[in-house]
């Protein structure tokens, strides 16, 4: 459906944002990816992807309340938009379609 294809890291970020639901801000996303995928992510590479996705309209963000932590700086919470969700689903279906197209024999060989 879409001409835009999510990159692998973009997909991971969007999925993580979806997982964290209301609590998806920079550090939380980094930690989540680290825990689930055992993958180190720098703030720079995360942020640049977040802003790019936001610009595409797959993500949206709003500021949280200021707290005494983080030097009084507010957190920016990201969430997946409807368009973003559709893209995620489309991606998942593409993958599944690919999986389903693999001849059974190969999978069996691997398993065996």
């Amino acid at each position: 459906m879409s001409k835009y294809h999510l990159g692998e890291f973009e997909e991971v970020v969007m999925l993580t944002v979806a997982i964290l639901h209301d609590k998806a801000y920079g550090v939380a996303i980094v930690t989540e990816i680290q825990e689930r995928l055992d993958r180190k992510v720098s703030i720079g590479s995360l942020q640049t992807v977040l802003r790019r996705l936001e610009e595409k309209g797959y993500l949206t963000s709003k500021f949280g309340e200021a707290t005494k932590e983080r030097g009084g700086k507010r957190k920016r919470f990201f969430s997946v938009t409807n368009v973003g969700l559709k893209i995620l689903q489309a991606t998942k279906e593409q993958r599944l379609g690919l999986w389903n197209a693999i001849p059974k024999i190969i999978l069996n060989l691997q398993a065996g």
Partner: protein
């Protein structure tokens, strides 16, 4: 938080600088959060490294701050507000406004005046299309000192053609001699400056022709080219081409061309040019194979690729090949190549051609202009700092509502630029008014014309910004550094108000002013000394007439008799030179022990029987020239003491002794010794001098008259002379001629006085403003003191002693500076005053008095006010 460690500030700043402002806050928060984690887990050192990596990883294209102006919005309202506040401040405090603007305007006026002058002096001879390729040759004869210099501008007649023919890089060369003469036709004769020049003149100096052809204008022997103004003077509306003019008793000169009037910045001063082939002396000299005399100026052009230094290296060979003065001439010639552009400001060459500037004036004037301008800037700074107490609250408030430091700085700079702009417009008007007077003083037609030189406008704009920033930068930096909390709480103490700097600025101002005062005093005394120094000859009530009419020779004796019959005429004499200005010199040898080293340069003058009496020269031994002996005109001479001493004799034994003169096989006999008189200005030492007899009319006729009824006497003299000669009666007084010797010095003195006064005025303005301010600050204190019983004297003392202390420190600083510069200046005079302590002391006292009057007036006024008023004030 587990630790109080913070990430490196510079990294944070760096991050804030490059990060897009929209993303900055939350990303910074993330960074800090991770940093805190890292510190807890891995310790501060590692955390910092990690922080660095994180920041670097954030340099991503889509996270960067946009490159275009980050504040596309120009806060016009803010600028409007700055102007309004600046204006209100000026308006509310008229005294400060006056002192600031007035002081700056005076400083800028000086600067502009001198700028115009300096620029004018540097613009000479640049209008020829090929001016940067024009050079001339002058020479040095090491040791042949004449009037204090052994450089000579004159060269042999044949030099131009040798340069042209033997040196391929020389494209054209011309020979010039300058002179003054009567020129005209029928009854209309004019005394004009002219040039003898050969036919290549207009190929070197490309003056635009109105009529005639520059290639052929000077090819005919008796041809003459006029400037437009002279052509109009002689011929009116007639066509001058082909007309005959009379010059030096020859009526056959034909006008072959008319050139545009040369611009004012032309070194050569002339209104006509005559083919030099008509000059008899030149025609003789030019035939000579080897050169033994110098009388002409040689100018030439080089081709584009040539380097004048290469030509310079070839000069010794040229001299070797062509120059030969004969055995008896002791000095070697060195030929020097000089660009035309340097002609105007080169002043130490004898017999030079063209109008000269004064490079010493230029440097001194420029220095003074800068000092005066600097003093005015300091005033501004001082007053701005003093007023900062008033303005501090404004700054506090601005900061409290969110002004950044850069905004406060730009506000104050803008304000000082605005004040400079006001001052500059005032200075502009003043400069236009003063320029004619100043131009007359430096003898230059100075103009400040923006229309003709548009770049000047740009220059003025830069001047405005520069002065604005110079005077406004410190106040701006200082004001913007104030802490809003302290200011608004009223916690400003005197200490942090830059009082210390302010003091030093005032001290500096006074040091400069006092240096100028002391210098003026010393210059004044040196001039007094010059004017009252015993010169050895009389200058009062003596008229001297420069005789131009060669036909007067025969009638001179008759005319002299007729003059002497007038009771007012006391004595008449004719001479080649006047004692103020000994011009011609020669070389003599002692007979008895002859060798090369014994050669003596001696000034000689040809005089008649009456010369010694008329000028009151004193004879120490021997006798004056006298008609009774009949043979005095034949190698008899009167020497001065210097000459006698140089020849190795004493005054008493000199009479009757004999010596040789250069290139003359016969001996000269001393018949008298006269007392030394000043042969030149007091800049130069007294030189050996010899007088010889020439009864016939020479260059000058001097007349001693009785002091009564001078105008009538002059009228009689003129009337008598008119019977014998149609030439103008061209006379001057000896004492004026004497003053002419020191014209440059006198002008320097006057300029110095003028700028000294300006400097004092500006410094006093500053001090006045500051005193007014301090006094106002202390109104309450004075009130309380008075209530407690202080007298007016106490109060005045209290208020003035601080200022006087600063003036005295300034004085102490000024002494060595003034001493150093004045010693240098005086060294230029062979005869000079000694520097004495009281000259310095007097300068200091004058400064203290001025400062006391400036400050004391205000203090005294404050001391006399009723304390009730002071205390009720709030």
């Amino acid at each position: 938080m587990s630790s109080k460690t913070t990430p490196p500030t510079w990294l944070l700043r760096f991050f804030r600088w490059f990060c897009h402002p929209d993303f900055q806050e939350d990303i910074e928060g993330d960074l800090l959060e991770i940093f805190t984690q890292q510190v807890a887990e891995k310790g501060p050192q590692k955390a910092k490294w990690y922080f660095l990596l994180e920041v670097v990883s954030l340099i991503k294209l889509n996270l960067l701050r946009p490159f275009k102006s980050n504040t596309p919005f120009i806060p016009v309202g803010m600028y409007k507000n700055y102007f309004k506040i600046a204006w209100r401040n000026l308006y509310k405090q008229k005294l400060y406004a006056f002192i600031n603007i007035g002081g700056l305007a005076i400083g800028l006026t000086c600067f502009l005046l001198i700028f115009v002058y300096v620029q004018h002096e540097h613009s000479y001879d640049r209008f020829y299309p090929n001016s940067n390729r024009i050079y001339r040759v002058y020479q040095q004869q090491v040791g042949n000192i004449y009037s204090g210099s052994d450089y000579f501008a004159v060269t042999p007649a044949g030099l131009a053609s040798v340069l042209k023919n033997e040196y391929p890089e020389v494209t054209q060369a011309t020979t010039i001699e300058d002179f003054e003469a009567l020129l005209g036709r029928e009854k209309a004769y004019f005394w004009e400056k002219g040039l003898w020049a050969d036919k290549h003149f207009f190929q070197v100096f490309e003056f635009p022709f109105l009529q005639g052809n520059p290639r052929t204008a000077l090819t005919q022997k008796e041809s003459i080219v006029l400037t437009a103004s002279l052509a109009e003077k002689i011929f009116g509306k007639q066509n001058p081409i082909g007309q005959k003019l009379s010059f030096q008793n020859n009526e056959q000169y034909t006008v072959t061309g008319v050139i545009q009037n040369p611009p004012v910045y032309t070194s050569f001063q002339f209104s006509f040019i005559i083919n030099i082939e008509a000059n008899a002396n030149y025609s003789d000299y030019i035939k000579k194979e080897t050169w033994n005399s110098n009388a002409y100026h040689t100018f030439f052009t080089l081709n584009e690729q040539a380097d004048s230094r290469d030509l310079q290296r070839k000069m010794p060979a040229l001299v070797e090949k062509h120059v030969d003065y004969g055995e008896n001439f002791a000095f070697e010639s060195t030929y020097l190549v000089q660009p035309l552009h340097d002609l105007h400001l080169q002043t130490n060459i004898n017999f030079d051609i063209g109008l000269k500037g004064n490079p010493r004036y230029l440097n001194l004037f420029s220095l003074i202009a800068l000092i005066v301008l600097l003093l005015a800037c300091i005033n501004y700074m001082n007053l701005a700092i003093a007023r900062s107490i008033r303005r501090a609250k404004e700054v506090g408030l601005r900061k409290a509502v969110g002004a950044q430091r850069s905004q406060i700085i730009s506000q104050f700079l803008l304000e000082s630029i605005m004040i400079t702009a006001l001052a500059l417009s005032l200075a502009w008007v003043l400069t236009q008014l003063l320029l004619p007077i100043f131009g007359q003083f430096v003898e230059r037609p100075l103009v400040l014309d923006v229309v003709a030189t548009p770049w000047l406008l740009l220059g003025l704009f830069f001047l405005m910004v520069l002065v604005g920033i110079l005077s406004g930068s410190y106040p701006a930096l200082f004001m913007s550094s104030l802490n809003p909390v302290e200011v608004l709480k009223g916690k400003l103490s005197k200490k942090n108000l830059g009082i210390q700097l302010q003091r030093w600025l005032i001290i500096g101002q006074y040091a400069a002013s006092i240096t100028l005062i002391i210098s003026s005093l010393i210059i004044y005394h040196q001039f007094q000394y010059i004017q009252h120094k015993e010169l050895g000859y009389e200058t009062e009530h003596i008229l001297s007439i420069q005789v131009q009419d060669p036909s007067l020779n025969e009638e001179f004796k008759v005319m002299k008799e007729e003059w002497l019959q007038q009771p007012q005429v006391l004595e008449v004499s004719t001479s080649q030179d006047l004692p103020v200005n000994s011009n011609s010199n020669t070389v003599i040898n002692n007979v008895e022990n002859f060798d090369d080293k014994s050669e003596i340069i001696i000034y000689n003058n040809k005089v008649d029987y009456n010369y010694i009496d008329l000028f009151g020269l004193e004879l120490l031994a021997g006798r004056n020239f006298s008609p009774d002996f009949g043979t005095d005109a034949e190698r008899k001479c009167i020497l001065n003491e210097r000459a006698v001493k140089a020849l190795g004799w004493t005054t008493s034994e000199a009479v009757g002794k004999q010596f040789y003169r250069m290139q003359d096989p016969d001996k000269y006999t001393v018949i008298g010794v006269m007392k030394d008189f000043h042969t030149h200005s007091l800049h130069l030492p007294i030189e050996p001098m010899m007088l010889m007899l020439k009864e016939q009319l020479s260059t000058y006729v001097s007349v001693k008259v009785s002091p009564e009824n001078l105008p009538q006497t002059i009228a009689v003299l003129e009337e008598t002379m008119a019977q014998y000669s149609p030439y103008p009666f061209n006379y001057s007084f000896m004492d004026d001629q004497f003053d002419q010797l020191y014209k440059a010095d006198l002008k320097l003195g006057k300029t110095f006085n003028f700028f000294t006064m300006l400097a004092i005025l500006i410094a006093s303005l500053g001090l006045f403003g500051l005193a007014a301010f301090t006094t106002k600050q202390k109104t309450k204190e004075i009130g309380v003191r008075k209530v407690m019983g202080a007298t007016a004297q106490h109060i005045t003392h209290m208020l003035t002693k601080d200022f006087l202390k600063m003036v005295i420190i300034g004085f102490v600083l000024a002494i060595p500076v003034a001493w150093y510069f004045m010693r240098q200046w005086l060294e230029d005079f062979t005869y000079r005053i000694q520097l004495q302590w009281w000259m310095f002391a007097l300068g200091g006292i004058i400064a203290v008095i001025i400062a006391f009057l400036t400050v004391g007036f205000q203090s005294f006024k404050a001391a006399l006010t009723n304390p009730v008023e002071a205390l009720r004030n709030e």
